[in-house]
Structures are given as C-alpha cells and as structure tokens.
Amino acid sequence: MKATVLVRPKPGILDPQGEAVESSLRQLGFAVGDARVGRVVDLEVEASDETAARAEVERMCRQLLANPLIESYEIELR
C-alpha cells in the first residue's frame, strides 16, 4: 500500500521559509498571503489492510517523520 505523509508547520509556528516564498511570489507579481512550507514523504507500507497501514504510518510520524512540538501531519493511503 502506498502512503503519502504531509508534514506542516503547526499554526502559529513561525515559518521563515514560508515567509521567504511568500515575499518572492509577491515580487513576481502574485497576490498571495500566508504561504507555509511543509514536507511530503511518499512511502510504501506493508500492511494487511488500510487500518493497519494507517496505524503503522501514524507510528512513523510520531517517532520520526514529524516533530509534534512544531509540526502536524496528515496521512493519505491508496
């Protein structure tokens, strides 16, 4: 089963990378606001079903893929 993990800076956490991207986009003439930069991790998981796969990826997120102090995550399975 394939999994995609989206890791984002939590709301309220300063994201200087997002701010730099936003200001660059503005310089290009795009009317944007509140850009935030996160991370995408694509994985293949061995699991018997979707529930087991989700539980497994949850554990990966908690142990390594995201730092719960500053990041939230979202898991997509297909």
Binding site: I13, L14, P16, L64, N67, L69
Partner: protein, 237 residues
Amino acid sequence: MSEAGPRIAVLTFPGSNDDRDALHALELLGASGVPVWHAEERLPDIAGVVLPGGFSYGDYLRCGAIARFSPAMKAVAEFAADGGLVLGICNGFQILCEAGLLPGVLRPNESLSFLCRDVVLRVEGAETPFTSACSTGQRLTIPIKHGEGCWFADAELLAELETKRQIVLRYEQNPNGSIDDVAAVCNERGNVMGLMPHPEHAVDPLLGSTDGALILGGLVEAARAASPPVATAAAPL
C-alpha cells in the same frame, strides 16, 4: 607530577565537523578526550560526553532527527539516565532535543541566514555542572555559527522550564529568533545541557575570547569529580 585528566568522550557522526575542535579544547583544559564513532554500541569508560557541532546526516529531515538513532546515542541516553554528564554543542544540542534528552526543538533562524559571529550570553543558572565556573548574571562572549538555532518551546513548556531553572544561558541580543532569547537549556536533573554557541571555539586567546573555557572547564571539573580517583599514592592526611 602528571595526573591523567578525566576521560571525556566526543562523538563523531557522519557530518560532524567540530569533533576535533572539541577534543582539542578538552585536552587544553586538562581532560583526556576520547573520540567515539557513532556506530559504537557502547561507550568506553568515560566521565562525560560531548556531542559536537556539525551537520550530522546532512541535516536531513530535521537537524539531529536521524543522528539520534545512531547506536551510540542509545548508550548516551543510558549514560545520561544514570546521571552522566552530557554536553551538546550546536548540532549536538539539536540531536539532544530530537532525542528527547532536552526539552524543545531547534528550528531555522528567523532570518533564514547562516550566522557566524561572536555573541554575548548571560548566565541564567550557575548551578549546573557546566556553568559552575560562572556566576549568575555573568556575560560570556562565545561565537555562534548556525543556520538552525532558533530554539522553540510552547508557552506552557517555557514556563515549566523557567520554574525548574532549566534555562541556562540567554542571548543579550537575540540573533536567531529563539523563544525568550534562550541559548542553552538543561534537563531537570542538570546533568545534560545543550547550547547553540560554540565554547570549543573560545578557549584560546589567539581566537579572541576564552569564555568558552568556563563552560568546557566546568564540564572537565565536574567529570573529574565524577571520575573514580586513580589512587597512586593515596596518603591520608
């Protein structure tokens, strides 16, 4: 009469680059530096550990996030749990935070710029082994060189650390956006400390300040006190 200094391990991860400077500084301050490769599952017989600066594992994922799974880090965690002295400098601080041995996390500098210059620090807590040679309120000049030194803790954690006196050093002028100007924190027990500035680069007057010798010297003296005495001719008074 030459007395062997306390043995202090300096870990080297793939991408560490201040390990030799740390060993040199420790030797200069009277310790016996012991290089330890990150793949070692056991620490040699030592009285302290330094996790040096650098870019372990290329800072992949998050700074320190991969290095904390090194076999040697398991041994460091056990050593720390037994009360062993552990000092993390820069990347070493990042690793200790990711490993959960220290509170908070290090994030990219607010300016997104890599900063390399001397900063002035204020000693907030002189009761840790690492700051025992300093006095509370003392100013230290020690260089920083980091891109991700913006320490973060939420309001609740910050208040708790303040109450428990775990904030050890603060910047006089915040260079990186670190919450509450924090430059160094320790664990509750006080035997593990991490700091972004580099004391190992401030031990020789040739390079400017020697204030780093106060921090590393504190570690050396605490390690000396923790080492079993090598009794050659222990004569009672």
